[in-house]
């Protein structure tokens, strides 16, 4: 039987390829994701492993708060006296101390050197102990005082050479240092586009504001001493607030942030692969049911020859299985190419991912094949069951109607029930507060799937009214589109072809040809290819071609409209694939709008300063020296910064923020208990908290609260005020204290934002003088309130764009679905098309008829998808506090336009096939 299955697929090559494509894309996404993330992960592992290749033990500062979630707090440092103590131990062969921190390189133009969002790593190097260093010096020499080594990739990209001076900014203002050499990091040329800057220890300590302190000590054991002996010896001299790990443990610890990012990236991308496969399953199911309807006679013949229902079922499933295997293998290979392409893409935008070769794990092969095959086979079950209902008598009688299945009469009711169950699951997951995150996610996932399938099944009931309603919309949107492309495509194409081989006087042909070439030179290439093909082969393109017109063709579109209503189930399934993609796109757009709107409102309410100072990338913390420099601006009325770090209160890790006394003048809060003046009077023990935090921990004004800091100190505080943040949030963490208290308890404090008020408010002169006072800090950026809002939102917008690109994959899959349905429909209606051509339908009318049907399908999908997306978004927004519903009108219009374009593009190929049918042959087609 397997031979028959393969033969049946080969027999219908075009149909098979079109059907399989929908699975190929989904599987490619899955395998591409695995290859990409595995490759990045392996590369990072090798980087971190290399860092500690000759290190037997590493001493680091120990944070009193176990898991450091935010990167705003630098890990605790320790006194460098420890190094001498460690070196004196008899078990220790060699030990070096080092410090590291963010160090921004500044180009000769005074601009910060950044590649995408990659970090700017600064660290001390110890040329006396090259064994500990994973850096290779490739040019020049190791640095002495006031010198720096930088990575070769950065030097190459920016044209920097040994001996040149370069600006380096860390905690303080920019320092000019001499480039003493170029380095590479082990075998990899770059770590994700990060810039590297290596200094002498003393230089680094000055730059990083860590005089007399170390971040890490790396130790090599004396020969003959085991790692465990070394560790226990070191442990004896360790002061409080430090810890020792083996080199390997330290590498794993260092990599943990990266690993969790990679696993997030993996899940994130897999979700979109899953969406594409889900959409693909609709396409497969639909294509198979159409194919099976067309093969009724074949199945009936098999039945008369003694095939049982089970054998028919088996043969269809087997076909799906073979197709699933082929599509999954193709998808797997395409995934490899996709991963390669993504590496190139990231490289092109400056975010070079570490790549030490593509990693193709067996797990990738197993998962990709399994998922692809499973989805195909499951999608084939319903069509296969349909095939078993073909009665043997269909072999001899035309137009046998399949007996309805046992469950057919429950279909509509079942669809409604399924959708309702899906919604209930969503609601339960969203609004039942006692559930864990994973069960909420599972409930929502299952709910959303059920809703999609339910709506898709029920949609066949909606097709007739929706198709009628979409009819005029489809007609006029196509006319509008035709009008737009007419001068750029339709007219020049006609003119060029007429000029090349058409009828008419020589003069008008040459004139037309020149005009056409001027209007669209790209088409000239196409027509020249056609001319040479015409000259070389017996191919004769159709002529006289109809003059391009855009007037709507009522008769053709009316038949197209009728066709779309003729098999509601088919139209519904085809539209359902597009529905899923559009629902998700709408959901994402609506959620983004729901985040942005309250955020802007919150900024408008709280931000009563004139300017904000942030890092160039809008989110990195900036050293307090920036605010100090800004404070010297002429005409400054008030300035206040918000610092941030981790803390622990009531047994939970929280974000602690701190404000300067002048905050009362630049930030305005609504108070539940307390007053604006409290912001300036926090002193050494005052704290403010948000209303919700106060409520959940039963805090009132005067309540004591103690916060544990990463350095191990505990701050005893009293609640001085309780504020009511707007729904869009506030710049504050759970507990906010005074900067003075913060600085006493946190090492190397960093600012999240700085706000300033100047005499005269926002004007060009003030902007310039503020920028002038920040000249030594190229990494700092001055923004007005409006700029600040759009800067902060730009992050959400770029996430939104990434989501759009990923969801576009599922829209492409559904586009293939429409193409497939239309191609199959053209096969099925060959005789009918021949008849209509025979009684006078022109080729153009044939094309328009098909295109109209396609656009109607797309519009139905868009309407269902947008409606569903809005409903789902509404549910989520109702659940989440910081979001409020706002209709993303312009995006929704864009999506509808995209849907029409999908319809138009999907119809191109099937319409050409239909138009090319020879009426005589078509009439004889069986």
């Amino acid at each position: 039987m397997i031979r028959f299955a393969i033969r049946a697929l080969i027999q219908r090559k075009l149909r098979t390829v079109l059907t399989a494509l929908s699975i190929v894309l989904g599987v490619a996404m899955v395998s591409g994701t695995y290859v990409l993330t595995d490759s990045i992960g392996t590369a990072f592992d090798s980087i971190f492993g290399q860092t500690y290749k000759n290190t037997d033990a590493a001493i680091t500062g120990k944070s009193a708060i176990s898991n450091n979630q935010s990167d705003t707090t630098t890990p605790a440092t320790f006194n460098q006296n420890l190094l001498a103590q460690v070196q004196a131990l008899p078990e220790v062969g060699a030990a070096i101390g080092s410090v590291s921190a963010e160090a921004q390189l500044i180009g000769s133009n005074g601009k910060a050197i950044v590649f995408g969002g990659a970090p700017n790593l600064g660290f001390s190097v110890d040329p006396d102990h090259p064994d500990f260093d994973s850096l290779n010096l490739v040019d020049g020499s190791w640095p002495v005082a006031r010198e720096v080594v930088i990575d070769r990739a950065t030097a190459d990209k920016k044209g920097l050479e040994v001996g040149q001076m370069i600006g380096v900014q860390a905690r303080g203002p920019v320092q000019r240092l001499r480039i003493s050499g170029l380095v590479t990091f082990g075998a990899v040329s770059t770590i994700g586009g990060a810039t590297l800057a290596g200094f002498r220890l003393s230089t680094a300590q000055d730059l990083f504001d860590k005089q007399g302190k170390l971040d890490q000590i790396r130790i090599a054991a004396k020969s003959g001493i085991s790692q465990s002996q070394l560790i226990s010896a070191v442990q004896k001299v360790l002061p409080a607030g430090t810890q020792v790990r083996t080199g390997q443990e330290q590498a794993v610890e260092d990599a943990s942030g990266t690993s969790s990012f990679i696993s997030f990236l993996q899940t994130f991308l897999l979700v979109f692969g899953g969406v594409a496969l889900f959409v693909g399953s609709f396409v497969i199911a639909n294509s198979l049911s159409i194919t099976i309807a067309q093969r009724t006679r074949e199945f009936a013949t098999l039945r008369t020859l003694g095939a049982t229902r089970r054998q028919v079922l088996g043969s269809v499933i087997l076909e799906a299985l073979v197709m699933g295997v082929l599509a999954s293998v193709a998808g797997l290979l395409l995934g490899l190419a996709l991963a390669k392409g993504l590496f190139r893409l990231f490289d092109a935008v400056g975010f070079t991912l570490p790549n030490s070769g593509l990693i193709f794990k067996p797990r990738t092969i197993v998962v990709a094949l399994l998922v692809g095959i499973l989805v195909t086979v499951v999608a084939s079950l319903r069509p296969a069951r349909r095939a078993t209902r073909v009665p043997p008598i269909a072999a001899v009688r035309e137009g046998v109607v399949l007996p309805p299945g046992r469950l057919a009469r429950f279909r509509a009711g079942g669809a409604v029930l399924l959708a309702a169950a899906g919604f209930s699951s969503l609601l339960f997951g969203l609004f039942n507060h006692g559930l864990g995150t994973s069960s909420v996610l599972i409930l929502m996932l299952v709910g959303a799937l059920a809703v999609f399938v339910g709506v898709a099944l029920f949609a066949s009931r909606l097709v007739r009214p929706m198709a009628s309603a979409a009819n005029p919309l489809a007609r006029w949107s196509v006319v509008l589109f035709s009008v737009l492309v007419w001068p750029l495509f339709s007219l020049p194409f006609w003119l060029l072809r007429r000029g090349a081989w058409g009828p008419g006087s020589r003069g008008s042909r040459v004139g037309g040809f020149i005009l056409g070439a001027a209007l669209n030179p790209v088409l000239l290439i196409m027509v020249l290819i056609m001319v040479s093909r015409r000259a070389a082969t017996g191919w004769r393109p159709e002529w006289p071609a109809e003059f391009p017109s855009v007037a709507p063709d009522r008769s053709a579109t009316d038949i197209g409209g009728e066709n779309s209503r003729r098999d509601p189930q088919r139209t519904a399934s085809t539209a359902a694939a597009l529905m899923i993609g559009l629902a998700l796109v709408t959901l994402v757009a609506t959620l983004a709008a729901a985040i942005i709107k309250p955020f802007e409102d919150a900024v408008d309410q709280i931000f009563t300063a004139d300017y904000a100072i942030t890092a160039q990338n809008n989110f990195s913390p900036i050293p307090p020296s920036v605010a100090a420099a800004a404070a010297s601006t002429v005409g400054l009325e008030s300035i206040a910064s918000v610092r941030g770090g981790d803390g622990k209160a009531f047994g939970k890790t929280i974000q602690v923020t701190a404000v300067d006394p002048q905050a009362a003048e630049v930030l305005t809060l609504r108070w539940q208990d307390g007053a604006q003046a409290v912001l300036g009077q926090l002193d050494s023990d005052g704290a403010i908290v948000a209303k919700s935090y106060a409520k959940s921990h039963r805090l009132v004004r005067g309540s004591p609260i103690s916060v544990l800091t990463p350095s191990g100190s505990t701050i005893q505080l009293k609640i001085a005020g309780i504020f009511d943040p707007p729904s869009g949030g506030s710049p504050f963490g759970q507990v906010t204290i005074s900067s003075a208290t913060f600085d006493r308890n946190y090492a190397a404090p960093q600012n999240l934002f700085t706000f300033a008020k100047l005499r005269g408010g926002v004007n060009d002169a003030n902007t310039q003088s503020l920028e002038a006072s920040l000249k030594a800090f190229p990494n700092a950026k001055v923004a007005t309130r409006a700029q600040f809002k759009s800067n902060q939102i730009s992050g959400i917008k770029s996430v939104l764009n990434i989501l759009y690109v990923l969801l576009a994959l599922s829209v492409v899959v559904s586009l293939f679905g429409i193409v497939n349905t239309l191609v199959l429909t053209v096969f099925e209606r060959t005789r009918e098309l021949g008849m209509m051509r025979a009684i006078g339908m022109t080729r153009r009318q044939t094309r328009r008829m098909i295109r109209h049907e396609s656009v109607i399908i797309a519009l139905i999908g868009a309407a269902l998808g947008i409606a569903l997306g809005l409903i789902l978004a509404g549910l989520l927004i109702a659940r989440v506090d910081f979001m409020s519903f706002a209709l993303p009108t312009s995006q929704l219009i864009t999506f509808a336009v995209v849907a029409v374009l999908v319809g138009i593009f999907a119809a191109i190929f099937p319409a050409r096939r239909a138009a090319r049918l020879n009426p005589l042959e078509a009439l004889q087609y069986e």
Partner: protein, 246 residues
């Protein structure tokens, strides 16, 4: 009439009604018929006479509204789908007007299809003998699309015979062929009856085809109106004229 071993197919009191109420059509109105073993029986009648419906019911493709059908001693009207399918494998072969070959299979695979489906193999020498008989020896690797109409019908005949069924039903086997080819196909069917003793029921409205039969049944308005033994085309045409059914 009884289900004696010499009668492969026995039908009693067959009626078949399509639709219900005012729009109902009585396609068959009480038909009793026996198909004796080793004979070629032709069923003739004008369009709408019920001849195709009769064949569908005799072959178990359709169920009668009333009456019983025995094939090789088994009452089939009450059989479930699986039992009927099993019976079809053992006892029934089909030849169709439009050949109904599977387009993706070669001639050889098409011929062997009933055995493949049943998980069986042809007896030694039988396949070669059959292919030689229908004259397809050098066409075995061709696909249906590469064969002429006559060749396709030869494949279909070999397919019907390959499992040596108790009875072969042929539905207008020459209806889609030109007259020369028709003659060849009919001769082939006749020879299968004579050489292999293949019981065959053939529905046709071609007098030349009916003239090959050992017995000709005439149907009109759902009833058997006349029966002729082996006759010449002339006699058959005369009978049709007399009945006024053409």
């Amino acid at each position: 009439m009884s289900a004696s071993p010499s009668n492969v197919v026995v039908a009693n009191g067959i009626t078949r009604q399509f639709g219900e109420g005012d729009t109902s059509v009585h396609a068959l109105r009480g038909i009793d018929v026996c198909i004796p073993s080793g004979e070629l029986t032709a069923v003739m009648g004008p369009s709408g006479s019920g001849k195709s419906t009769l064949m569908h019911i005799l072959a178990g493709l359709d169920k009668p509204t009333a009456g019983s059908v025995h094939i090789a001693g088994t009452e089939i009207t009450a059989l479930g789908d699986t039992e009927l399918t099993k019976l079809r494998r053992r006892h029934i072969g089909f030849i169709f007007q439009f050949f109904n070959l599977l387009p993706m299979l070669t001639a050889r695979e098409n011929v062997l299809l009933p055995l493949t489906i049943a998980g069986a193999k042809p007896g030694p020498g039988w396949f070669d003998e059959l292919i030689g008989r229908v004259g397809l020896t050098d066409r075995l690797t061709h696909r249906p699309a590469e064969l002429s109409g006559g060749q396709q019908q030869r494949v279909a005949i070999a397919r019907a015979l390959v499992s040596r069924p108790s009875v072969v039903f042929a539905d207008e086997p020459t209806g889609n062929l030109d007259s020369t080819t028709s003659g060849e196909i009919l001769a082939l069917m006749r020879s299968s009856v004579e050489e292999y003793g293949q019981t065959t029921v053939m529905v046709t409205h071609d007098a030349n085809a009916a003239a090959m039969a050992d017995r000709v049944l005439f149907l009109a308005d759902g009833q058997i109106v006349q029966e002729l033994p082996r006759s010449s085309p002339r006699d058959i045409l005369l009978a049709i004229e007399k009945l006024g059914i053409r």
